[in-house]
Symmetry: C2
Amino acid sequence: MNSSTTTVAESNAFVTTFDLSPTCSGPLHGLRFAVKDTIDVAGFKTGCGNPTWRDSHPAAVVHAVCVEQLLRAGAHCVGKTISDELAFSLSGENHFYGTPLNAHAPDRVPGGSSSGSASAVACGLVDFALGTDTGGSIRVPASNCGIWGFRPSHGFASVAGVNPLAPSFDTVGVLAQSADVLAKVGLVLLASAPASPKKQPTIHLIREAFALADADVQEALSEPLRRLREIFGGAVRESSLRELVADDAGHSFATWVDTFCVIQWAEIESCLGAWIASAGPEFGSEIAASFQLMEQLDRRRVAEAVQRREQYFRSLDQFVGPDDLLCIPTTPVLAPHKGDPPRRSSSGSGYYPRTLSLTSIAGIGRLPQVSLPIADADGVPVGLSLLARHGQDSLLLEAAKRTEKQVCS
Amino acid sequence: MNSSTTTVAESNAFVTTFDLSPTCSGPLHGLRFAVKDTIDVAGFKTGCGNPTWRDSHPAAVVHAVCVEQLLRAGAHCVGKTISDELAFSLSGENHFYGTPLNAHAPDRVPGGSSSGSASAVACGLVDFALGTDTGGSIRVPASNCGIWGFRPSHGFASVAGVNPLAPSFDTVGVLAQSADVLAKVGLVLLASAPASPKKQPTIHLIREAFALADADVQEALSEPLRRLREIFGGAVRESSLRELVADDAGHSFATWVDTFCVIQWAEIESCLGAWIASAGPEFGSEIAASFQLMEQLDRRRVAEAVQRREQYFRSLDQFVGPDDLLCIPTTPVLAPHKGDPPRRSSSGSGYYPRTLSLTSIAGIGRLPQVSLPIADADGVPVGLSLLARHGQDSLLLEAAKRTEKQVCS
């Protein structure tokens, strides 16, 4: 663990701290971790960042399966971390519990919804932390805070004991200080062995994804991309959305965002709608606006969105070879400044549509994604992302380690 | 729809009936369906077969995504059907709501937990019904009631608005009167196009699965198997568990059942444990015994079970070619007689270990499975099952239709 001068209190990353010993020795021996407060730890309420939720639900009686796996692999659990309310936000500013510190950019938000987990890692208070990622909730805070973040392929890491948000996209994953720890923990969650690629991967830089990014993000990523090309040579190529999916609509990210949001909002309402209607929870204004937007969705649109999602999933599964990688900026913008939370919308040029343009690729494609803390813009962290084919998580984690050695050094 | 002389009241299949019109015309135009009461229909409580659950949860405010899909495809929803309590049973006898009629074998249980859905279809009251299947809850009642049942590949049909039981195995699927309707509805849920196999499939009859079956089940299946061999010729071959997985332990079904049960029970406790502890629900004695067994699980065993599951999943994914099928009896025994509910255990020669020996293959492998109503033993229905590779659901549904034409005729 890095030496750190930030205290737990200064980080404001934690809901509670405790000391939970490993149940066995294993590959994570000696590592300390924290758990996002949307994931069960026995004996504690899973608060999901909202006091009404906390008050209207009983304490967990058992650990989530993912927590059991980590304890069994030798890691030490030291606390639970702040989440954005019900995990339905990418900002990291919680109306009730405050804003976890973004250690490398203290005037900016850490990103969310795994805000406390990212903060705890970036502040050096833990070696890694569990987060959840439905629409970007691990990848965005990893990018904002300058740490490693891993969203697994959908459906391969157990979400039992993790509060459901939108099951077709929900994943549990990892934030870590190094690619090595990220890979070790990722393999434990996936119950998978390390893999080595059978052949040199083709790395597809998605042209429209880089074009979407702000100038400062593009500039920050230019040197890492140059080194990537230098190291991998002809294996790095520019590809277009036009090659990824066949239909014209899919050549614009607007369609990806709309498809993702229609399904996500419909599923969130399925998971949380009845509770909201019966418990009448108080929300911060940003989250309240998001839920209002969700309730306005015409659910008759869902079937068509699911069709498009499956069509794009299959296209991506065809396009991305078993050893191949996609490469995009994790987010198109720097972490927003604190105190100015972006409002949600599913179209236009606001923060959410632009960010979801990039994060929805993994969501729709069920793809694994790693955000690499590979760059900065005048000290503000900028993440670059690699994605692999659905189910090729081990290869992706291996590629992340290799990139850390060759590009970050 | 078959003409039927059984009334809704006589079937005891329904919790409630109503009339919900399609929201569009589509491929399911003119078909009527029912929904298992573990799946949300807006305005109704999702009772999950247990009065305490019903009383302690608010009404659904929106339809589950799967219900939206069916209404949008032109189908007509006519009611909600009885489920075994919390879907944690294969019997179909509900302590509180009684036993839905097994139309073809009235002195036997319909099987569960999608008991009412299977009954409603077999009684000819609907063309198809939605069920859920974690450990066999669609396949077993389909086999018992002499109808078609489809459990999709894990992770490809939305479970939003479906009460979670064990997320790593939970699926929503279909019970139907014909392979044609089964396939049409399956494709709507999967948002997938029909597929035709690129080459003649190899059909692997799993030797140990047939050997496990009672003599009357084996005998009932001998004629359909003979016709299968006659039609498909050399493409039908006997295969062994030894070819499916490499490790010695996996050559016995006992290991499959233990692996499945450890993960299933751990996940059920994650999903329901806190509610059980806080609401203190009343259960029927069979279900109460199952939950007691669940609570006795040493959760430190979960990590190892997940490892074995993933190892077997990868082995199966290697073994089963993209066009290939596996073939097993759906269950090794005839539907038990009413009034003698089998007790749950995870080892030994009881009803659950033997039945889960066969149903756990799809669970562990994330494989899609169709149970075909292809045989009977002195009038008591016996199902034969085909399974395909993970994600090859369209091909499986097509194969089911072909088999109906060629073997059932």
